[in-house]
Symmetry: C2
Subunit: 401 residues, 2 copies
Amino acid sequence: VTSDRILVELFVIFAAAKVAGEGFRRVGQPPVIGELLVGVLLGARSLGVIHDSEVHRVLQEFGAIVLLFMIGLDTTPGDIRRVGSRSLTVGASGIVLPFACGLAFTLATGRGSDEAMFIGAAMVATSVGITARVLADLGVVHEIESRIILGAAVIDDVLGLLVLAIVSGLAQDNLSPAHIAGLGIGSVAFVAIVGVYGHRAIDVAADRIGGSELRRAPLVIAIGICLGLSALAGTIGLAAIIGAFLAGMAFSERAGEWQLEEQIEPVYQLLVPFFFVITGAQVDPAAFTEPETLGLVAAVTTLAVVGKLAGCGLAAWGMERRSMVIIGTGMVPRGEVGIIVASVGLATDMLGPRLYAVIVAMSIITTVIAPPALKMLFAPRVHAAEVARMRRTGDVEGIGG
Amino acid sequence: VTSDRILVELFVIFAAAKVAGEGFRRVGQPPVIGELLVGVLLGARSLGVIHDSEVHRVLQEFGAIVLLFMIGLDTTPGDIRRVGSRSLTVGASGIVLPFACGLAFTLATGRGSDEAMFIGAAMVATSVGITARVLADLGVVHEIESRIILGAAVIDDVLGLLVLAIVSGLAQDNLSPAHIAGLGIGSVAFVAIVGVYGHRAIDVAADRIGGSELRRAPLVIAIGICLGLSALAGTIGLAAIIGAFLAGMAFSERAGEWQLEEQIEPVYQLLVPFFFVITGAQVDPAAFTEPETLGLVAAVTTLAVVGKLAGCGLAAWGMERRSMVIIGTGMVPRGEVGIIVASVGLATDMLGPRLYAVIVAMSIITTVIAPPALKMLFAPRVHAAEVARMRRTGDVEGIGG
């Protein structure tokens, strides 16, 4: 039956992810790269292990939600407040420059404005998921640069999806100003309300939840709120993972008391690999055999890297130079967000297959090059952070296994 | 986008399951009934919250796999050995009598042999999932009757799926003796090999797994083996959940040392409700407005209950009378297994829509009546068992929340 075939796929994805991740960990690389690359391999049409299906897309999203919820649990509202204005500057500046670069380059190569806008939009949004996992793997989530990056990436996602909504509206000639305004106001209101009042609501409910006779009540309620806010974010046109991140943040101040990270971690171990493997599998390596495509990939990827490095790095002006480079680098991965933009463009016929392949390649390359770069940049601090983290949690392996 | 709609559904399913389960728990009923009934409600076409889709079927199966893995973790091979021959008698006797009843009744009402065989097959297999959850909710998994029931239910599932394979082969006139023999030998070999050698293989690998520098290694390897054996069971034509149960059993002797139950429980809390709600949702209440259908439901359900009570209860001859009734009652729920048979019959045009609805109703009714009956039968012992369990695990709520 169908579900038996899917079970075999799920087993192969899970096992391959864990083996590849562990292999990369042993040679000192973040496991996430192993999971992504094994995904590219499994997704290749010649192997044909992973087919594009609704089940895979839901599992992929489920994995991303658990990932961002876990990262949110580790990010207290105070952490964000301390870096808030800086994150806003970095995020906004990291939108404007890459969008302009993508738009200008595509127009300069003689293509139409629809394609140019999609290329621009695809270059905008940083993948919170990839960056967050790499920072978690390195054990530097609590560093000031990581806070700025995560804050900026969330802002980036909100603004980036707004850009995508506008661009696809413009391209389809059905842009209603009321629609754009509604989406904009809704997005900002959602993030502001949940971000500011979420943890206060949990504070108020804390005695009831923690004092429930159900030992697992805090976990069940946290999962319910995570799913609910993810669904709500998706419904109002934001990425669902933004809801998951905000849900995690709302519970972050109680995470220790209720052992939420410890309890969510098995769910993380089970579901998050599906996100990375399936994201990798969406690339078809065979698309990159033509020289012209390769040239475009090189040009667009370079612009994508330079745009974020310059836009975000310079927005961190006043910090140490290494911190500026770290922040710029942390914002480079486009990951699944770039791929989502590309797929919307393809589905609405605004992007041809070649530019689609180019955006996907750019998303993957920016995703693959950032982790080792971040690892090098953070190297002097990783050891110290690791020791501090072990002391704090008694957890040697953490969520990086 | 599609995945946003699905996220909303997942949230509604999860929240409704937890609220309904907690409501039933508060009035002293097993939460699983609340989850099933809320599923029937959500699945009603008039509400239209849950649509039949591949995503739901995969989530349903995923939930069943986690459920059976958890039950397997709590069932050491020694437990099964102690009740082995009794379970085999109970299981076999619980196959023969219900199949004969279903076949004879359907032929007596003037229907064809294809339909008669499908009705017989649908009456055969006990739902391990439902029974196991009820026993877990009552906290009586370690009672001797529970062991016999679970052992017999596993044997039942193996034999029942074999019956289904033969019946659908016969009905489709493409029954190759080699195919049936292959399926039979494969099934028995799989259960015997994994059941007997699984925990020994884990014993041999234990030092490597437990001594790994990855703190989560035992969990990750257990999940991997659970997915792998489920996929393998599905591939050779067995129910995937049989693989999950055997995987859990293979790890059962190390479950305490590696804290597997404690770590799997959050996954259980997240995924198992999907199994019960979606199983409930597959019933369309509107199908039961015709008087003739209701008469058939009453007759078939009565035969299904009497067949298992007599067949299994009498096979427990020599035990206390209450134990015989408990064992017969524990084997009554047909749950998802009956529904699977019905859907195969519908898909292959061997069953008309009316008999399909009848089988589904029989499956649900047998599933809904067994838990309160078991609760009453076990009542004298539940309190004592609960106290013992709390002492053993320090867990007041257990997997019943």
